[in-house]
Symmetry: C2
Subunit: 233 residues, 2 copies
Amino acid sequence: MTNSDLRNWQAVQEEVLRRIAARHWKPGDFIPNEEELSREFGCARATVNRALRGLAESGLLDRKRKAGTRVAVNPVRKATLDIPVIRQEIEGKGLAYRYSLLSHDMVLPSSEIRARMQSHDGEKLLHLVALHMADGRAYVFEDRWINPRTIPEIVSADFTNQSPNEWLVNNIPFEGGDIGFSAISAGEREAGILGCGLNEGLFVIDRSTWTAKGMITSVRLTFHPGYRMHTAI
Amino acid sequence: MTNSDLRNWQAVQEEVLRRIAARHWKPGDFIPNEEELSREFGCARATVNRALRGLAESGLLDRKRKAGTRVAVNPVRKATLDIPVIRQEIEGKGLAYRYSLLSHDMVLPSSEIRARMQSHDGEKLLHLVALHMADGRAYVFEDRWINPRTIPEIVSADFTNQSPNEWLVNNIPFEGGDIGFSAISAGEREAGILGCGLNEGLFVIDRSTWTAKGMITSVRLTFHPGYRMHTAI
DNA sequence: TTTGGTTATATGTATAAACATATTATTCGT
DNA sequence: ACGAATAATATGTTTATACATATAACCAAA
């Protein structure tokens, strides 16, 4: 019954997964400790550790020092999604990418944007609006605020051939950020830019990124109707 | 200039990150190999490996055997999102959870659903519709198809006190799945169930999960207007 | 020039051994 | 009975060493 030569961490991981799936180890149960498992599987404890650490990272196991390892009671599954540069996403689908800059101003932001960008009172920010097209059809538009205090180079950047999205990705490594996903109903502005009907449901991504020096940028990406973001678990 | 005692993998990781952020190592550049770095940092190669592997997993480095390690040219950032059970998501926000089952039938699926569920021709599937409420207000509704061939226990399950979502999470460990995120515009049905206006933009999650035995379930979660899914990177 | 096999090399993995650290369990003093 | 000090223990990490594996680079034969 017990396999006696699981000598690599992938095999150990699969066996543990199998036992969880077979409900041999049920949610909430403690599983044997690393040392016992390593003896059972005939491998080193480090190998078991590697396998279990992976499962804990993906939320399937809960581990605590001294307490032990247990099967997660409520498997909060973690999905990882790739966030590519828009041009690559479009070209990756085999479509022709085109981009146009719709506006480019230094303006005083609304209080909401000012708060999100942690900008000073009365400080102007760079506001960019750009449209990304796939095979000539509107794909997503990018409404972006950038803080020139954090990124002085931005004022001399040329966005005629490269989108702000791509410029930033290529030039400014960021250290952290947060992303929100939501849906809106197309208003006059969105319908006009994307060329879709009023009130169509549109997928929206809001993203803010920063470095140690401060807030870099905050952007809203509003996608064409029917857009679907996809991932596997 | 060179730090001489980065003896744990977190410190190594931070130093590598710092050099990338400082553009000392630019996108596309090869970085020194593990052995060189371990000498520079005064630690074991395994420690460097641990640090770099983590950065590669999060998409910041590209590693290939023999070729070496380079800073990712187009940092496809990976965001991980937690997918909790709906009850927990609601209770986690400090709101009162309630749930009601709107319908519960064995029916012949549409061809689209039949394809997605990989069900046989003429085979009936379990169709469930349930509404999840937070503080008495519609939060999300769950439109779910389940294959009783894969999950025979499902036909005798009682969904009066436990939602299909929670029943499945607690009883059927799954092995794989895929998730799609999109937006729709509220039609009659959605507006009726969620109690929102017609044409409001609604956030939608489509998820299918399976085990080795076959397709388990396919569900569409349609959220209330204004819902926002959130994550950090 | 192309094809195919060989070699060198960087990452990937496994191992034992030791120590670190968090946290539970126990014991002891009051 | 209660809280504080202490021991026990499971995971976490580091190390040196060895071997595995993918593959870039090179070289030779067609």
